[in-house]
Symmetry: C2
Subunit: 218 residues, 2 copies
Amino acid sequence: MAIGAGIEQGGRVGDRLTVGVAARLSRYLQVLTQAKKDGRERISSQEISEYTNINATQIRRDLSGFGKFGKRGVGYSIDGLIAEIRKILRTQGQHNIALFGAGRLGQAIANSTVFADHGFNIAAVFDVDASKVGQPIGKTVVGPYADMKDAIREKNIIVGVLAVPPAAAQAVTNDLVDAGVKIIFNYSEALLNVPADVTVHTTNPAAELLYALYFYLT
Amino acid sequence: MAIGAGIEQGGRVGDRLTVGVAARLSRYLQVLTQAKKDGRERISSQEISEYTNINATQIRRDLSGFGKFGKRGVGYSIDGLIAEIRKILRTQGQHNIALFGAGRLGQAIANSTVFADHGFNIAAVFDVDASKVGQPIGKTVVGPYADMKDAIREKNIIVGVLAVPPAAAQAVTNDLVDAGVKIIFNYSEALLNVPADVTVHTTNPAAELLYALYFYLT
């Protein structure tokens, strides 16, 4: 199960994938999952390239590294690739996440299938607004924020998703860190201070647009 | 205004930044903008590193490449860096964007300051649902989808943001391409077919979570 791309591009450090390979595999997985939802059974490296902006040669090299070879004019089996990549990323099965904030953004997230499609179950949603507590949201019900630490322990929640106002984000982060959560997905754009063993992913749509705009303008 | 990082890391191709440098500058800009909103005046490379997960040495090299040097114990002037990076990215000024879809996600986007903070003005919002047309959203009013091509021309819209259901995304994309829009920001997760001169950015929160999860689990 060695990653062929590792030799030139990084690959594994010890028994881990490098960040570059893991990031690319995650992107392939997203495209493959969406293609499967669209009813597709096979996909070519060229198509994956068009959807990810990753070079098709790089894609073929990454996939051949774990024994997957596309057939010319036929492409790769989507189901086969999804299973293999999830095995390599060790992210098979269901993972419970908690969502903080049941406003417009929180509702959009809870009602989207984007996380469920990749094995993430929104197991709990919290808000500090008493008028929202008890209301249905997605497949669950908004819980009172005071219950968050118990819920994180009982439901084995490993990711906290922040859809709260920027001014509230650090306080929720501190509580998540106290509760032992190591991955925070930050939709608030606030800058968050966390210990070194906690990973924060902040969404950056405007940064991505500026980046696209630069290449458009030049 | 040469980018010092260019020698080892890419830098410029002809008179353009490489994708790596442009992507990093966009990320720095996002952190700097948020820090300014938080009332900060200065920031260190170490802090930018913590918020972006980009190596602090790389950051100092990128910034020194255009003559910005942080002072030890004092850091960089936030206002100065913002102005310089926007100049280098040639993204000063206001850019008009159009939002498609006025549902939960569209409302969350229209009411967020994330695009406005970086000079993107949501100049028009469209929906096919007649009950939404005419309703206020963000700083504008939902317009009928049939008006989109006229609005794109009249308002000089250069980016289309898709917050429509996946099944509707390709049709909107086709209309945007026909209208001459070259940058599409796709919140729908649908796989979109576009001509080679059009750039699609698809949000990938689940892919980012899988990636974070991999490093957490291993």
